[in-house]
Amino acid sequence: MSYDTLEALDHDTREAIDIDRTRGDFTFPERNKFDAGRGLTSATVDYISNVKNDPDWVRAFRHKALQVFLEKPMPTNWATKDLENIDFDVIRYYLSDGEKPKRSWDEVPADVLETFERLGIPQQERAFLAGVEAQFDSEAAYSNVKEELSKQGVIFVNSAEGLKEHEEIFRPWFGKVIPTGDNKFSALNSAVFSGGSFIYIPKGLKLKQPLQAYFRINSENFGQFERTLIIADEGSEVMYMEGCTAPKFETATLHSAVVELVALKGAKIQYVTVQNWSSNVFNLVTKRGIAMEDAEVRWIDCNIGSRLTMKYPGVIMKGRRARGEVISIALANNGQHQDTGAKMIHAADDTTSNVVSKSISVGEGRSTYRGQVLIPKHLKGCKNNTECDALLINSKSRTDTYPAITVKGNRHATQHEASVSQVSEEMLFYMQQRGIDEGHAMSLAVNGFINDLVREFPMEYSVELKRLIDLEMEGSVG
């Protein structure tokens, strides 16, 4: 038996293992008032700062970051050589129509509105979201939060507005969870960032509905560098969901975000990502949260799209009894490399972290898990549990696992388990003997593999996932 080509699999199997990206595969003509041009120099940084009317400290921050970016080597000593195919000189670092984000969809330009309508964003907002930010290339086209929430002090704006209007809240944390020099791409983002969400949840407020951001790339050779900072004040709770699409261009596109989460004492932040970039996007993202005493940060991550994703969400457990969690599903299809993982830094007593990762490699797809767990000296009562399971669908697919666990001291417990399995021929024979054809049998097996994790994902996630699958169905009949 062989599954050498994905074409050999039937519709249901493909549905089970892949999600349609054709729905996002459309583009409108560019009509950018502001275009920083191609390539990255200090003039580019000044251009962005001028357009955005940055305060001086932000401009200085960008210039410093550019130096760090230029000095840092590519991490190809451990990461894929495919990174060398990114041509920083042809990328366009800033594109916008110069409009401020609108509070009402009625004010959003028609083509942008149509884009987001086709992606279902306004409909979802009405159905179950507390607030939405929709970013089109470099800037948010729409940003709104339910009125009663803003009355209660919830801030949900784009990054530029956050830095200017709410400097006293955001500046103390900005660039603190992820320093500029964390890696080459966090430095790049720090130099040219634009868009992304700034969120503040006041003390004790528990949002019942999630906030959502949607990132859309419309222009070819464009680099999207949004910057998100979420601060959950003491005892508050928030769930944030992000989705993304881009049309399939001839040339590669770069998405390099920085996301910082701050969960103050007793707060809880859940960050849900459904990454569905088209298969020519380099998705190189740095995401990290800090959890203070009794706080919790959960990353719930689903990577389906992109050419190369490198993303290792992390949690620094800074206060006693803080908790960190990463739950992720990755699917690597032909031509894709999902290089994902988790970073758990225990920095206080009695902190607990949990990582559950499942990857599926199909065709010539490659999935990689990299993990880091650090329990430094003089702590006690820290626990980590890591499970990573990989499923290979055929003989050309590949999977790698590279965790690193450092434990200092004798008052902790860590556990790491990883496995690699296939849909075995005997299992398929068994299912086929019950009358289920090969494609359906494969589909059942793949669903079974991720089943227990899907259950871990929040309701809103399954709504999003279901919507994507529905698109696939629609696409297949239309």
């Binding site: 990989a390 790698d400 450092t406 004798n410 790491h416 690699v420």
Partner: protein, 417 residues
């Protein structure tokens, strides 16, 4: 080499290895193969002979082994001080320096034929350039050696020692070799040892390295094992000595039905550091590798385990397992684990697991409730923790010998820990 009659091929190899050693860069921060490593330990200087007087008879008396040995060779800094053997006809077991002359062809066919891919290519080159002696064991087709071949490598002074062990088994042959590394004095020795194991079809080759150098010494030990069709090998390392020891173990599964068991027990105390890197390389389909490393850490000690299961394209139906378990006994020790998988084939069963834990108060309480004092209770639990790896040797005499070496270390570790 000591003798002037050494074959030209060997002299040439040593010459080019010296050049390679000098041209290869020093490992540096950021090298994945040296992640978490203490690179300061790699500064080796010329060194001098021991200032102590070494009595060969004393070393001989201290060269203990398992009860039944089929052969016993004792070296002090490459010099053979004792040899005895009771081996079946056809088996070759002699100092490497002698074998290079008497069995030049056989040595040339097997000597350092595998690439070093775990970071120490530079030090493998230094070993190749500097090796002066060691052991060569050859077991022809169908011959089974009962009992163990026991080799003692005594070191002294601070000059480098480069012992080499080359073991080759023919079809359906069987042999078990124990290499024992120890210090004759209390000086900061440097030992860079390499062992080449080539297990022929259907053969059984067991290799045990016992590292009991003094706690000032440094050691690099490189193990390279080739496993042919239906052959079965065991590589076992015990680390109780040295200030710093780096073990690189590579098993290459070259034929279907082959099996490699990679085992280790390490008991660092004080400032001791053990840096272990392993590679389970599945070249052929249908082979099995199973790794189990156990570390019990005391004092301010530190361990690094970095293991990789690598399944080549086409090596289907591979079974590969890797487990590293750390038991941390103090608040000042540190365990690093990097268990890795790279899978390029299908119908494979691969898994790895790594745990770090401490002895729970409940366990101690249970033993105390049976009248055992806390110090002994901890020691019993630690001993029990290690035994799983030792029992995989499936060789009762050897097991009890190794447990005895372990007990010696336990008794040196402060009872308070």
């Amino acid at each position: 080499m000591i003798l002037s009659t050494i074959p030209t091929w060997f002299a040439a190899r040593q010459f080019s290895a010296r050049e390679r050693y000098e041209s290869l860069p020093m490992p540096k921060r950021g090298d994945e193969m040296w992640r978490f490593s203490n690179l300061k330990q790699l500064a080796f200087d010329e060194g001098t002979a021991s200032s102590a007087t070494i009595d060969p008879l004393d070393l001989l008396a201290r060269s203990a082994g398992p009860e039944k040995s089929a052969a016993k060779l004792v070296f002090h800094r490459d010099e053979l001080i004792h040899s005895e053997a009771n081996l079946p006809a056809g088996v070759i077991c002699m100092p490497l320096a002698q074998a290079i002359i008497e069995h030049s062809g056989l040595i040339e066919a097997h000597f350092m034929k595998q690439e070093t891919r775990l970071g120490s290519a530079k030090y493998a080159a230094l070993h190749e350039a500097s090796v002066r002696n060691g052991v060569f064991v050859f077991v022809p087709d169908g011959i089974e050696v009962e009992g163990t071949i026991e080799v003692h490598h005594w070191n002294s002074g601070t000059a480098g020692l480069f012992p080499h062990t080359l073991i080759v088994t023919g079809r359906h042959a069987k042999v078990c070799v124990v290499d024992h590394f120890a210090s004759a004095d209390e000086e900061a020795g440097v030992v860079i040892a390499l062992n080449d194991l080539a297990a022929g079809e259907g053969s059984k080759l067991d290799y045990i390295a016992l590292q009991e150098l003094n706690e000032l010494s440094r050691m690099i030990q490189i193990n390279q094992t080739k496993v042919a069709r239906d052959a079965s090998t065991i590589g076992f390392t015990l680390n109780t000595g040295a200030a710093w020891a780096r073990n690189e173990s590579l098993s290459r599964l070259e034929g279907p039905g082959g099996r490699s068991d990679m085992l280790s027990v390490s008991l660092p105390d004080h400032q001791q550091e053990y840096d272990q890197r392993t590679f389970q390389h599945h070249v052929a389909p249908g082979a099995t590798s199973d790794l189990l490393f156990k570390n019990v850490l005391y004092g301010h000690s530190r361990t690094i385990f970095s293991g990789l299961i690598f399944v080549d394209e086409g090596a289907h139906h591979t079974d590969a397992y890797q487990t590293c378990r750390n038991l941390l006994k103090t608040d000042t020790c540190e365990a690093n684990s990097m268990p890795g998988l790279e899978i390029n084939a299908d119908q494979v069963k691969c898994s790895h697991g790594s745990t770090t834990s401490q002895i729970s108060d409940d366990e101690i309480f249970y033993l105390r409730a049976r009248g055992i004092d806390p110090a002994n209770a901890r020691r019993l639990i630690a001993r029990g923790f290690c035994i799983e790896a030792i029992q995989r040797l499936n060789h009762p005499e050897l097991e009890s010998f190794i447990i005895d070496r372990l007990e010696r270390k336990f008794s040196r570790i402060a009872v308070t820990s």
